[in-house]
Subunit: 291 residues, 6 copies
């Protein structure tokens, strides 16, 4: 007759051992350069997830058939970027080593770096699919190498440029676009046929998906630190994820939800729905109690 | 040189007798399960309606040629669902008996039930067209039978499943979708050709239209209690209403506008525009003073 | 290195057995007549409590020396007032029977009724101290007997008018004030000497304290459903609570925090500080692990 | 069973003839220099007034014993200051000529000018009591003579400097303060004894009271266009009004409530309470139906 | 190591002489009839412009190759419409005489009038392209001829009806639409082929573009005074501007951004991006230091 | 007829050489542990300062008689605390070396450290007066030594504990309070006589004043990252500053204004007024053009 205080993501449990996937919050926003607040993303995504049903009519699948644990948030250290990233890496590494699917909730985009680095330790032939409005390919930003604006350049250094697939990119410096167009698998738009083409090439290989919520048009996702006009629709994005359904996805993150920028909470609700679909698409199906 | 305090909907009068349509507010949100506040919907829809012109270029019709009274709000009793529904039924029944078009402003979706029940008393062969993100077809919700989450199941019990036409539904339990797909005229999307198909079947029969504002994507209608991502556009919805233009519509409600969730007021403005179009489409044309 | 998802009140544990006090959320706002949203109060009070230190310099006491469990929220049924109150009574009763201090977080003021009724079962000579802007002494409101506007009348029926002590009351009908002034221990202001006088009379007897956050001026507590101007200051209230330090307080509730009305979150932060002081004042001191 | 759409101020009627007082909205903010929005003041003050009781425990009087009509809003012309002021004058003049108490809701402070000018036509020996944070005594502002920043200078030209009593003034230019201190009855603070002293001098003479909500500290009244820190409390202001209870008050305005600046609505609620107290203090008592 | 206080638009300089384009703010909202606040538009557009990159991947051009000065804001006189328009005309005229591109940031739409009038003095065969939700073609509005609702009628009087090209218009009175359809080059939608058709006819002639942000659907641009549902997308608008790339554009304004209506700031960010594209499309390319 | 884009603090100039005081923004919030956003403080304080008059009636002084330059903001590096502090130190050092008064606008409280360190280089016998709700005396916080929560401990290490005077402190750990009470000049409240006592001891010595806006009650200053209930009033604080009028104040900072937490902007307006009074109290009077 009473709800527990446990307030994990919709339908999640706290039985890590028995779960096929693990949700991890990375409430960090230290390198945000315009509007901070993404640190509150994981909390709000969990909080609003209760508005959703566990059943996805689009996929005709139900969370009740899946088993995933919510590990809570990594304790980030305001003012210490490197230590914060180490802690995220530590938590993510355990999930990858246990061969579970990592579902990470940001936080700013820099949190993707320790996750990808940890994943690459466990899955040496890792590829990364990147949905974002921004290229995030700067070599250095304001004098620092670890930043939300450089994170994908660091990812490129980790997995190699040919293993990075970018979609939806519509903002960056002239240099970033030159690099992206020449070195990585770059797409300025988010067309499902392009995504399907990438999926074709990645079949059977371990894949990490990183999704910056600002790939969506700001009308759908106003709650983000650096909104960039003229983005894609939720329908585009759901279709893109479905096009990746058959891949061996070992990690998925959703970053840059910034609650103070959206009083309507709809950015977080959309994020929660994306997480639901990601679990249904990329996690192994399980009966409660078994694996 | 001075405006009256009367602050009814754009262009409305208080001459019920001489009017072909009657606007009624149902400021109830007692069974809201996520974010309450829809009780303030009727007030805000009226208040912002002044931003609109009375002329619709889309329809090339003008409210000046129509006569509709604003009856104000039913006095809802917080904490007494059944009494509140009885009062709504009482007001709605009078409008149906007087063979006027009812335009009801919610409030939560449960207010549709007493309106449909009253309408069915007057129009025994009533059909219901339902635009919504949610199926609202639960048999029971949290132990109660009268809820925004069960309202369409109660409507089914009133008019029969074959008389319910659902459009835009993209959220519900597995059970609700199974029921919807097997028993009622169900459409997960909102395609104008599907709506036109339903119109074909309903020609000449009395029709009640219930429109939950959350059928729209939350980017267009953030001010609602349980926003569901990936909805339709205003253009889709205006076209759908136009496809119903030739039907004998005897009631129309627009529910779930929740002002505290939308500081921009655009949800209420869009609702007011939908109401304007509904009057222009479904009410009889009149010269002021005559019928 | 990682925070659990457990997100109870600052410093709370989930070991009910070993605790001297229990925190219970009652997220109900069904009878709210002006602005709903108090259902979100318990969640926000817990969430923002992390901004506080566990040490109170005013009291020179530290939460580290106390042991109190957070039981989470009662599952309230939107649309079913009586069932919701029964569930609150059920949870509260257990705490009183176990002779622990109940700390209840509202929710609207009606949630006080089941708590007081349960307390009176266990402590027959119970007295109630009531801090509020509103008398809440209506016999009936909009035709219903169970309402935030009638709750203290129902409390009077439970413990007797001479066992009710009201402070800070500055709003009500003429009839309510006539009743209050003639029948109960009524104070329109919140003067510490009056509170101390009441404490003198109540020494050694079981006391339940109910605190409606709107006793404070709306400048300090804008996040409430029915703000009433010209209220007391936080300093007045902290002093009043300290004047009750030596009483045998068996229950304490803090109600009517309504998050959607306060984007600054300071109402909830002030509420959390009041809860901290209440624990430090009214709970038994304990070493972690022992009783 | 149904509320009318009439949404006048709490307890008001639309029977102007039978009323002793008349409420008039002046939704103008054209000369606002910092943050516009006071045009929405009258609407919001009326809308939130329902949160209040009709009984004032402070005064032990009840609106039920008074009869006052709500005339609605003057139609202001955006972009035409002089025409707008003429229209306000026209409506106010009628009320003064009918020897009723005018209760005017602003709007920006400039709306006081036509009201005072009309009052002075009917009551040649009129005095003005002015509560405000700002002196509003500029001779000219940005090249214009009709401005919220010059309004009291124009009032001085209408009634004479010795007939102006200012309280709470804490902002102005060096020149304004020099003028105020030398020419008018000036008080930088709001002490009840000063107000009582003015009342002593004004006994038996017709008095117009103008109250700029920003005389209050912005913590109590954040919803105003030009908030000025370090103001008075609601208690100070209620006491000041009570000190004027025996005067022959023929007009009272409350201006500069700016809804977009206060999402908590508490500024308007406080304004509504001030209006309630003003009616109870300054209007003639009546039984409904009689005079 | 320190930023100057100069806070002009992204990448702008204060060297008017050496610039090919000049940015001018017109912070006026005096004739706004629904929600004021557009006066804050220029400030917010400049402030948020830093979130953008200077490089446009869509156009493959970079602001670094252009030289444009930010002249700051015209000092508008609240309460004096004519003087305010004169001042805008004065500043705009200088820019046109110096044969530089004017980029004007509103402010309400009426600010377009003095700019067009000044432009027509310098470029007698001027044509005007108008993107808007509203026709703004009233002969008179609330008794005044100078209003945001009449501005394009005044423009018609300045350049002639055949020189006005309207796109996206979906709101107006019956009379306005009759006039628009018969007299000017009117398009209710915003189709790129229609825009291209107009471009064809205007090649080689001086063109002034006025863009009311409410031509966009309110989901993309909620921060505007009179939002009108069912508008175009940012993609539509960017394409339309690109279709005008080869024209001799001598002035461009973007009006009706109203910051208080959009806490997410995305309207201003979209406006800033439109300004960036307008500079890249319509200004002459320059190397810093040269012309 | 046109305002420059220069948007410095009210009445400031950009002539550093001729000025007696220099305003410097430090838009940093990297170590914020609860709600970030103080980085936007300097911009908003400048922006809203225009609502104030240059004349202070309380002090009977006018900014027109003072000459102070606004240097703009230090370029802070998100993600690099030490580099950011170095840059602040660099700018502050120059001001101190030039024997001008530094007026620094935060930003989080950690920005005080480089300013005090730079001041102590130039003024070896420096004392620090600290107004704050929080002791900020932790030895270490979350493993880092440079944090808003440790800043005053670092200040103690710089100037010595006997040179630190704390006022208004009402939050901290048990350890911080033990240290504060035993080692520094500690006051939990903000009584003007205590401040005057400190002034007595500091006469003739160089003094740096650091003012955390959260020393005020959150009702006056809701726009701050870690609001702590039960604080002082603006009147208390203005009086305290006046009690320091005769000291040789060489630096003054005002920190922790966090705009996203206060939509009413009143926190920034109050901060701007405090800055105005600080200039009038602590800067040398000058005629424009001379020293």
């Amino acid at each position: 007759m009473q709800r527990e205080v446990f307030s994990g993501f919709l339908g999640s449990c706290d039985d890590y051992e028995g779960a096929a996937a693990a949700i991890l919050g990375a409430p960090m926003d230290q390198t945000a350069s315009f509007r901070p607040g993404a640190r509150h993303g994981p909390r709000q995504i969990r909080s609003v997830s209760e508005v959703l049903e566990e059943y996805s009519p689009r996929l005709d699948r139900d969370l009740a058939d899946y088993r995933y644990a919510d590990l809570g948030d990594v304790t980030v250290i305001p003012g210490n970027v490197e230590e914060s990233l180490d802690r995220i890496a530590h938590s993510a590494r355990r999930v990858f080593r246990d061969r579970k699917l990592l579902i990470m909730l940001g936080g700013e985009h820099l949190v993707t770096l320790p996750a990808v680095q940890s994943a690459a330790e466990v899955y040496p032939d890792l590829s990364v699919i990147h949905f974002d409005a921004h290229a995030d390919l700067r070599e250095i930003y304001l004098g620092v190498r670890l930043s939300h604006a450089t994170v994908m350049r660091r990812v490129v250094e980790t997995v190699g440029p040919e293993r990075l697939f970018q979609f939806g990119i519509r903002s960056g410096t002239r240099e970033e676009f030159a690099f992206a167009r020449s070195a990585v698998n770059f797409h300025s738009g988010l067309r499902v046929e392009d995504v399907a083409g990438a999926a074709e090439r990645l079949r059977g290989k371990p894949v990490y998906i990183t999704l910056d919520i600002d790939v969506l048009d700001p009308s759908y996702a106003p709650g983000t630190g650096t909104p960039e006009p003229d983005g894609c629709t939720p329908g585009d994005l759901f279709s893109a994820l479905e096009a990746l359904a058959d891949l061996e996805v070992i990690g998925f993150d959703l970053v840059e939800v910034c609650p103070p920028c959206d009083h309507s909470e709809r950015t977080a609700i959309l994020a929660a729905k994306l997480v639901r679909e990601a679990i249904l698409l990329f996690s192994r199906k399980q009966k409660p109690g078994g694996i």
